[in-house]
Point group: C2
Chain length 184, copies 2
């Protein structure tokens, strides 16, 4: 089994972090991981806001619903990555939508999110991908202009607690040979 | 620099493959990479059709626009992964949309796509993520039922030609400190 598959299997949603800063060199590798992600026709729609300012992290935590347990992560994590995207880029050709799914920014955000989280894991860092919050409020906090959206926020830090893995669907449940429901 | 970052930097969109089958054990690792991907509240909306039948690969190639150079990849690649998703799962809570972006299946498809492509790269395999095709036609080819969509198709094989890297935005161009356009 490859080292990468180990990384994939060991990655968890980490919500508790040590009080320990992330070295600049490591931070830079995480950003390189985004930079080298594939994207729709190489459009690279991503914008990454690296939030270390405690006041802004606190503001971002307020965009989560009351009672969301992830709120405290934002204050505790040394870094919160806010992943934004330029609209009308991924999935478009000459300003026109090219598929039934319209803007593909969420797809490209998913790709670079996984690049970042796996690279973090390779450095012993824990991440949690937060998608459930008021995206418009977060956009105001970080000052993203019109034509852009905040997709996710990723609190990141050295884990003080690593949860066990949530259950996965068996491969036979989601894999089909040649056609849907084809036997493996 | 981590091995993973090397993998990320060396991954290309590979469109030319050797006539060489992918061993079952490797194929299984690629599927495990999907299995262990994170997803919205662990909803795991993915369905993967592993197409090796030449007639079905040919049919899938017909869902691409005339003149799309990726057409020949479908016939040449030993395996084409068709990545589908269950709708109203990612981004939903009790059948209700939870964010302004509606269904997040494209985000989760992006995550597991990157897991699969990086694991392929770790095994010396080349992939190309195809998003521009008639998704409804591909859905009919592989027989995905209502309530599901085909997102992407990924021809995969041992590269006979590896292209050079397309240009990337500089980190300073897309990274911001604390707020959008904040100096690094």
């Amino acid at each position: 089994m490859s080292d990468l598959l180990n990384l994939l299997k060991e990655r968890r949603s980490v919500r508790n972090y040590e009080e320990k800063a992330i070295p600049e060199s490591v931070l830079n590798e995480l950003l390189e991981a985004v930079q080298w992600s594939p994207s729709w026709a190489n459009t690279q729609c991503w914008e990454v806001v690296v939030v270390e300012d405690p006041a802004i992290k606190e503001e971002l935590s307020q965009t989560l619903a009351k009672g969301n347990p992830a709120k405290k992560n934002f204050v505790q994590a040394p870094v919160v990555f806010v992943l934004g995207a330029k609209l009308k880029s991924s999935g478009y050709y000459k300003d026109q939508v090219t598929t039934k799914f319209g803007d593909w920014f969420l797809f490209d955000m998913g790709i670079c999110t996984q690049s970042l989280c796996l690279t973090a894991q390779a450095h012993g860092l824990g991440t949690v991908i937060v998608g459930l919050f008021d995206q418009d409020a977060a956009k105001r906090v970080v000052g993203l202009p019109d034509g852009y959206e905040v997709a996710t926020m990723i609190p990141t830090g050295y884990p003080s607690k690593v949860p066990s893995a949530p259950k996965r669907r068996e491969i036979a449940e989601f894999v089909h040979k040649n056609r849907f429901s084809g036997a493996l």
